[in-house]
């Protein structure tokens, strides 16, 4: 990771950026996001298989934006998130420097947006393998079993909204659940309201989810809510042959259409 540290130092020293967002190990040894503004602190940056959090979530956070130009350590999901955020006009590529990291942990030279685009284009954009297996298992269940599975999982939900807050695409300053005219989703955490919340979240991420799995990882009570969005990611590709986070232009499947979109259930 010496390359990453050197590059971070260089960017901070020559004032190309004011902050580098990367990963560090906390006092308990847990890997967590680091915000490095002083080049002297860049040595604490690490990158290994434990560095899984999607850092792109910070690109839309006011206090972070306030720091100035940002360099961000970016694995593939982060790069795809950045692409989505650009296409949805939340950030501009000029505001950031992408410190791309390849799947095998090597620092990439992402000189500009087109290089990042090229890297994304040649990457496997389908859901990560470990989730594919889980999804396949779930799909095998009967409808009643699926219902029971999800009810059991969702009954644990405490509506802390960690899933939402951890997601780079959930950047809305007001979420539908915060709307009370009408009260779309019951404020209380109960079986039915929890389910409605997770349906809403998954639907709002349909065609926008970049399969980082961050929502599920963030959940303090261990609900695999990432499987809902990942399932839709699969279906978006299945129906429309599109993956999210592949273009700087708006290409969300929910805001576009093809006249010959195929379905088999509308009579």
């Amino acid at each position: 990771m010496d390359n990453l540290i050197l590059r971070a130092k260089e960017l901070l020293e020559n004032k190309t950026v004011q902050v580098v967002i990367g990963y560090e190990a906390g006092p308990t040894g847990v890997v967590r996001p680091a915000f490095i503004s002083d080049p002297a602190n860049a040595d604490s940056l690490i990158y290994d298989e434990r560095c899984v959090q999607n850092l792109a979530v910070y690109l839309t956070k006011p206090e972070v934006k306030h720091l100035g130009r940002i360099a961000i350590v970016s694995s593939l999901p982060v790069m795809r998130s950045i692409m989505m955020l650009i296409s949805e006009q939340q950030i501009s590529y000029d505001e950031i420097v992408v410190l791309g990291i390849s799947a095998d942990g090597v620092l990439l030279d992402i000189a500009d947006l087109s290089v990042m685009q090229g890297y994304i284009d040649k990457s496997d954009l389908s859901n990560p393998v470990k989730y594919k297996e889980l999804l396949a298992e779930l799909k095998k269940l009967t409808p009643a079993e699926k219902f029971e599975y999800w009810q059991k999982e969702l009954s644990k939900c405490i509506k802390c909204y960690a899933c939402r807050q951890a997601c780079p695409m959930c950047y809305c300053t007001r979420c539908t659940v915060e709307v009370n005219q009408p009260q779309w989703i019951s404020v209380q955490s109960n079986a039915h309201g929890n389910m409605e919340w997770h349906i809403l979240r998954a639907m709002h991420l349909a065609g926008r989810c970049i399969s980082c799995g961050e929502c599920g990882r963030a959940c303090p009570v261990g609900i695999p809510c990432h499987l809902l969005t990942m399932h839709l990611t699969d279906q978006v590709y299945n129906y429309f042959k599109v993956y999210a986070g592949t273009s700087e232009k708006m290409n969300s499947v929910m805001s576009t259409y093809e006249p010959n979109d195929k379905e088999s259930f509308i009579v």
Binding site: G26, P27, T28, V30, V31, R32, P33, A34, F35, Q53, V57, Y58, K61, P62, E63, V64, I158, K159, C160, Y161, A162, R164, Q165, A166, T173, E178, Q183, S186, V187, Q188, S189, N190, R217, A218, C219, P220, V221, G222
Partner: protein, 336 residues
Amino acid sequence: METIRKLIRKQSLEKLYNNLAANRKVYAPVIAADKKAEYKYNPGFADVTFDHIRSTLSVKNIVFPKVENLFFYENSKTESTITDIDLDKIPEVVLWGAHPCDNAAFDTLRSIFCWDTKDEFFSRRLEKLTVIGLGCHSSDEYCFCTSVGLSPSSSRGSDILLTKLQTGDYQAEILTAKGNEIVSSFPDLFEPLTDEKVDITEVKQKFSHKQVTEKLAGAFEHEFWIANSLRCIGCGACAYVCPTCACFDIQDETKGKNGKRYRSWDSCGFGLFTLHTSGHNPRHVQSQRWRQRIMHKFSYMPDRNESLGCVGCGRCSSGCPVDMNIAEQLEALQNI
């Protein structure tokens, strides 16, 4: 009452538990499928764990459920009829095997809910609660009870505190009349305590809460808050797993002519928590919300409730998706 110490044999615990569970709701920890501890009502004794460090969620829901109905109403053309909740129907609950931090939290909650006026719902639930605590014989890096004036063997909030003995049997400290009532109901299960060594874990003190409170008095505008909350993503996980966080929201839900008013957990970590109707938000960024959380627990509450708003259970840190480690931050705060 004066504390009485007795011995309860390991095998007697099962009898005690089963006797209690036979005609009462007993809330006890079990190991869930994800290998984490969670509390359940009346699990089989074989499933009850005595070795967990901390459950994912605290046990505050016994006295402060995540949703509490306050009353029901029915509207007609001309008037609304209100039906109150029958508080007499609140059942007796025995909390079994909860650790000192969680049990001390009931005291903290009382200092909030009964600060000026007595909250009926909370008080009645607390009245119906008997706590059979369990001293800690294990701990981890997130534990910091010793930094907030508690310890792995604190008896605050317990009616009976069990502590594992090195022999494998348990010491029972009978602390309250409620505790005594249970002991006297099952006199055969308790024996006189001989002088035996207890198996209690050691939790290192990380900071002095008194110093933290003193520092906070002048730290409202300190740059510390922004720098140390940059990675906070603003979810409510810390508040919802916290045994002492007591913020709630009150809502009316109406369907047709019928409706109800209820209160449900809320968190000061949410932007919506302080959002005004006008759109103005006095705590409009996350650093201010993080500051509020720390300030409330370590400055405002000692000041106003004469109680610290933290019991050092470490759940907020272990449950945080971005490692907002509160003990680490308080340690740092002490030195600013």
